[in-house]
């Protein structure tokens, strides 16, 4: 078993407190970062090959570099703790069990991008994580780790609770919501690094991404890069759920294969059943078949099979699962969560759900499958944000990879 880095505190009694966190070596990264030039921190992060762990997988150091050089405007660090991608639950663990890792990561990132104000956007349903993180922030303030004494002009954290909308996990939807509006994603350009929250340069980073920073600063970007693959450094937290024997958060180097995650880390398929399909990166990732699981779970592995690593939420389905039924569930989700702002997504997520629902109700028509595929392909890439492209992943892959099952269901006219 490889070394635990991000999850090392998860099962340590008291590690969520400042004292416990410090006992485990916490805030040493920040202590070191305080002595570093901001640009040097960014360079270290670039060297680490850290990729955003919320879903998009964009290189973190590069993202920071998009803030206009020499900008004297206030810059905001926004933490995306709006965990919502179906099949993903790792940020909840960090907020509840290792909240100081996030605070420390924020201090480092804020120094790198010259930010004096950070917002932590926690999904509204996460009440316990919100309380746990709030307690940690209070401890950090009381200890002088946050507030005016932070070198470089001080640093404050505002904790912002969402109110129930998946789209707020999209970074500009999150910004809209933070600004007190509906979570409608913003039309780009401008990009947040230029004009983000409240019109100012803004960096939005995921919880887990930031939690990597103390380790990168302490042990070096090269070390972190060495843990992973050529294009992505580090370990990451895989959320594994569904029909595995031992669901849960698994930390592994990003070179771990999907097969290893399922069979070695999570005990294989429950009840000794057969694997039928697996979603590798949250529900927006295209589904994979059992012959497609020998891939590294970095940003490139799932991509090589037409899917994506996304938020690394692995949803495992055994041979009892009806894929048309699963598609109906997923389509219902995207129809429910489409923000309604732009036309292709607003109108077609509902239509596709109605078709998928009809199919599992035994009222499918033979043209439905081609219609779903065609509508999805036509809508892909035409929208304001990536939500619809995420919905298209399952629409297309479920049908293309399990077409016979859909066709048989439609022919039989039976309920799924």
């Amino acid at each position: 078993m490889a070394e635990k880095i991000l999850s090392k505190n998860f099962d340590v009694q008291g590690a969520h407190t400042l004292r416990g966190y410090r006992d485990g070596g916490g805030y040493r990264g920040w202590d070191k970062a305080k002595g570093m030039e901001p640009a040097a921190i960014t360079e270290e992060v670039k060297r680490s090959n850290l990729r955003g762990l919320g879903g998009a997988g964009f290189p973190t150091g590069v993202k920071w570099g998009f803030i206009p050089k020499g900008s004297t405007a206030p810059k905001y660090l926004v933490v995306n703790a709006d965990e919502g991608e179906p099949g993903t639950f790792k940020d909840r663990y960090i907020l509840e069990r290792d909240p100081h890792a996030l605070i420390e990561g924020m201090l480092i990132a804020a120094r790198a991008i010259d930010s004096r104000l950070g917002f932590v956007y926690i999904r509204g349903e996460y009440v316990q994580p919100w309380r746990a993180f709030s307690a940690a922030v209070k401890e950090a303030y009381d200890a002088g780790l946050l507030g005016p004494s932070v070198p470089g002009g001080g640093f404050d954290i505002v904790i912002h609770r969402g109110a129930g909308a998946y789209i707020c996990g999209e970074e500009t939807g999150l910004i809209s919501s933070l600004e007190g509006m509906k979570g409608w994603p913003k039309v780009k350009p401008p990009f947040p690094a230029v004009k983000g929250a409240f019109g100012q340069p803004t960096i939005v980073n995921n919880v887990e991404t930031l939690a990597c920073l103390p380790h990168i600063v302490t042990r070096g970007g090269e070390w972190f890069a060495g843990l992973g693959t050529k294009t992505q450094g580090g370990t990451r937290l895989y959320s594994v759920s569904g029909h595995v024997a031992r669901p849960g958060v698994v930390e592994a180097p990003v070179s771990v294969t999907l097969r290893q995650l399922i069979y070695d880390h999570c005990g294989g398929i429950r009840g000794g059943r057969r694997l039928k399909a697996v979603v590798p990166g949250g529900s927006s990732a295209a589904i994979l078949t059992p012959d497609e699981i020998d891939i590294p779970m970095d940003v490139d592995g799932p991509k090589s099979k037409g899917s994506m690593i996304g938020s690394a939420g692995v949803i495992v389905m055994d041979d009892t699962v009806s894929i048309p039924d699963a598609l109906m569930v997923v389509a219902r989700f995207y129809a429910h969560e489409s923000c309604g702002q732009c036309t292709p997504c607003r109108e077609s997520t509902g239509w596709i759900y109605r078709m998928a629902h009809r199919i599992v109700e035994g009222k499918g028509r033979k043209e439905d499958l081609d219609n779903i595929l065609d509508v999805a392909k036509r809508g892909a890439g035409t929208t304001i944000c990536a939500f619809y492209d995420g919905a298209v992943g399952p629409y297309i892959s479920y049908i293309e990879k399990f077409r016979e099952e859909f066709e048989a269901l439609i022919r039989s006219g039976a309920h799924a």
Binding site: G84, G242, S283
Partner: protein, 161 residues
């Protein structure tokens, strides 16, 4: 409880509103938190509350209404003393959410979105709450309850006051 049809924050709550507004570069940022405060205070977000909150932000009531109707956590009707929200997204669905939902419906005698006649429980089905390792799971007020079985659900529902 404060009257949702004639909503007024107390002086202390108004001070909290101002504090929240001061946390953001533009006070509108505090709209969601203030709506949470209003819902905690008044039980749900009535139209009167929307209009009242609008005055605190110099926002037209239509713009507050947009926000309230967009997010799932703002209740626009009175809710039960407890809210039981069962996840029906993929992982929970795979692990038997359908049976859990059916069981809740039968036991409570309501459909999702409805409140029991005694005003005790509002039943909801919701999208992923991101506790899939606990599937099937549900949220009961502030708490996540997972690895549900019908027996476990009976115990949880039976324990609600």
């Amino acid at each position: 409880m404060a009257d949702p049809k004639n909503p007024r924050f107390t002086e202390a709550q108004l001070a909290e509103v101002r504090r929240l507004q001061g946390l953001y570069p533009d006070k509108r940022g505090a709209l969601l938190p203030v709506l949470h405060l209003a819902q905690d205070t008044f039980g749900y977000i009535s139209l009167e509350i929307e209009a009242y909150v609008g005055t605190l932000f110099e926002l037209s009531p239509a713009h507050v209404h947009e926000v309230v109707t967009f997010y799932t956590m703002y209740f626009q009707q009175p809710r039960g003393r407890h809210v039981v929200a069962v996840c029906h997204n993929l992982s929970c669905h795979l692990m038997g959410a359908k049976d859990i939902i059916e069981h809740c419906k039968t036991r409570l005698g309501v459909e999702p979105g409805e409140t029991t006649a005694d005003g005790k429980v509002t039943l909801l089905t919701v999208e992923c709450l991101c506790a899939c390792e606990l599937a099937p799971m549900m949220q009961v007020d502030d708490r996540y309850e997972g690895l549900l079985t019908t027996d476990k659900v009976d115990g949880i529902l039976g324990g609600l006051a």
